[in-house]
Amino acid sequence: MKKVFALLLCLTLTVTMLSGCGGSSTSSSEDSDVIKIGVFEPLTGANAAGGELEVEGIELANQLRPEVLGKKVELVVADNKSDKAEATTAAARLIEKDGVVALLGSWGSSLSIAAGDVVKSNEVPAVGVSCTNPQVTLGNDYYFRVCFLDPFQGVVMANYAYKNLEAKKVAIIQEVSNDYSVGLAKFFSDSFIELTGDENAIVETGNYNTGDQDFNGILTNIKAANPDVIFAPGNYTESALIIKQARALGITAPIIGGDTWETNEFITVGGADVEGAVMSTFFDDTNPLTEEGVTFVSEYKNAYPERENVAAVSALGYDAYNLLLDAIERAGSADPQAIRDALAETVDFQGATGAITIDENGDATKTEAIIKVVKDGKFTYLDSVSVE
């Protein structure tokens, strides 16, 4: 009896599976009046929060601009579970099963890198949203992005520390298991050493692992080294805890970081201690750099009235979508190859996060980064820095 029941259950499930599959694979309708764009983002797993914010921006852009070349644009969202193997299958599925003409995503450079080979071998272009690692577009003609790169961000923050904060000695705290963090730390220190001309300008480097919660060991050493500024790029939770514990230890030096800090969690975890923390980012809703930015902010606030501020990655998602549609328009066709060529030729596209020109690597050349500071429990515009 048990077995019969189990068998029946399996049978029903197989049937539902089959029907589910049948439902979702409508790739045969190539010449219909729909253009499909794939969005592959981490919607579960460690990177889910970032992925969702990007999808929000993309969906908002889609609502505002639902058509191109007289055809309806349909977004197909696939979850890559913050996992590399899943990221590649998700990308392959979007291309093969859903027949998308281009991809958007993903949050997390390593996931984009993993999907890089899929887009390359299928010759379908992809536009990265907030993947700042240089390796995403390196040696891949089909991957583009709308955000600036880690080297740029490193230079920006080094400049900020050196010029605005007049720092001579800095300490670095990096998340060794996070490629973003070690990369950014490296670019920062290279740039800072160059600016000061002092080989020993980095007085202390502390390492921690993702998920760590106690940083007193690192911080005690840093306190002893007495730096002018502490640069601590990394995950928002750990970073907020670092700042809290640093302040508890009596470290008063300014603590600065990168774009990943700009989340509400950073402030909820850090509380009063993160007041004055400074970070670079792509976008600021109170000071949009472009007209498009103004439109985006007002539309975003309409669509999500409950949000206090607009995440930069949402703005980037918005830009990625519009950049892609712009390229489709210029190509005059929804053929992936044509889109790729049009994307590569993008010059001075006016996005919400600034003007974007795609260089020979497929990267967005941006000259300006926003510097924000936490003030009264809010991310507040501080400055915009341009670096040549």
Binding site: K2, G20, S24, L43, A92, D117, N178
Partner: protein, 367 residues
């Protein structure tokens, strides 16, 4: 089965079904490699790779009865070996952009097959080092110790910047893995496992699973035999890791978090601890099933707009399904049985007889 006296024609006669099956499989691979889209190919590749890892794991856990959870670590070793030795030398500078690759490695490039085998060998060597202290431990302690070792391997890979590029991982691995590679090697591994399991060594493995004390009294050296099994399992896993790296084109330490091992544990438990065919079947079920259930992540599954259909829901359903299967089939789908032609025939008969009810209550069993 007395292989010694078997002539070629009698071999054909007894195994024609298997030969035909293998032939069809080859044609299937050829067709898939040629005509299937990259999405399908990718999933099929993953199926084969998971099969290899799970077989390696089942050899240790299912056949030898040693509860080991080091799979993720061994995969990492294989994957990194392939990554380190196959990334073209001229690309290395751009991959290792934070710190250059260690000079003793920087100019060594191996052909894929060489790197793959080397990965397997490294993995087996590390298994030896791990096994030396761990294989003397009892069941649950062994599990936690091997799990720990797999974590140590991952942590080491995160920290050896000049060799493994640390947290950045290695990019630009030539994506050589295709269906021929993965299925070819999976087939070799399957055949090797079958031959091994049915040899004197295989029986020694099983005797340890059944009763360590009796096995020892029969002259089986526990440590040596466990070690053999452990190292072979690690070798297979290392090779699979290499294939995995060459499929994705990139590796980084986070891929090999210890939770990866749970996937394989799930596969072997579902398929049946100690069943080769069960492992193969469940590798496919798990890999394909997860993809299949993807529609549950969409907000409009079954045309219903329910808030539960959101990303992640398929994992819930998938876990539930597995729990149900394991509840109803305590020993997994196959137990310790193998899916042989005889087994299929018996199953069909027993189903027939059950449908026929009274006509033959034991008729089906007797033959």
């Amino acid at each position: 089965m007395n292989t010694q006296k078997m002539t070629f024609s009698s071999f054909i006669k007894t195994h024609w079904k298997t030969i035909v099956f293998l032939g069809l499989l080859l044609i299937g691979i050829a067709l898939a490699n040629e005509f299937a889209d990259s999405y399908l190919r990718r999933i099929l590749n993953l199926c084969a790779i998971y099969t290899i890892v799970s077989l390696g794991m089942n050899l240790v856990n299912g056949f030898t009865g040693q509860f080991s959870l080091g799979q993720a670590g061994f995969m990492a070793i294989g994957a990194y070996t392939v990554a380190i030795f196959t990334v073209p030398v001229e690309m290395r500078a751009s991959v290792f952009y934070l710190e250059p690759m260690a000079p003793f490695l920087a100019n060594i490039e191996l052909p894929f097959i060489g790197a793959l085998i080397l990965g397997g060998i490294f993995s087996a060597l590390v298994a030896f080092l791990i096994g030396y202290p761990c294989l003397r431990l009892r069941g649950d302690y062994l599990a936690i110790a091997t799990l720990g070792f797999s974590e140590i391997i991952r942590i080491i890979f995160t920290n050896t910047q000049t060799i493994t590029n640390g947290a950045l991982g290695i990019k630009g691995i030539p994506t050589i893995s295709n269906l021929w590679w993965t299925y070819g090697i999976a087939l070799l591994v399957i055949i090797a496992t079958i031959l091994l399991v049915n040899s004197s060594y295989g029986r020694a493995f099983k005797s340890i699973r059944e009763d360590e004390i009796a096995a020892e009294a029969m002259g089986i050296g526990l440590f040596k035999t466990k070690m053999t099994s452990f190292m072979i399992g690690a070798f297979f896993t290392g090779i699979a890791g290499g294939l995995f790296a060459a499929l994705l084109g990139t590796v980084d330490p986070k891929q090999f978090y210890f939770t990866l091992t749970y996937n394989f544990l799930l596969i072997i438990v579902l398929g049946g601890m100690g069943s080769i065919s069960g492992t193969i079947i469940s590798s496919f079920i798990v890999t394909i099933g997860l993809e299949w259930l993807r529609f549950l992540d969409e907000p409009m599954a079954f045309g219903l707009d329910l808030p539960i259909f959101r990303p992640g829901f398929r994992m819930v359903i998938f876990s539930l399904l597995l729990m149900i299967i394991v509840l109803f089939y305590r020993k997994g789908l196959m137990g310790t049985n193998e899916l042989t032609w005889d087994f299929i025939r018996k199953k069909i008969r027993s189903i027939q007889s059950r449908l026929g009810r009274k006509t033959s209550i034991d008729g089906g069993e007797k033959k």
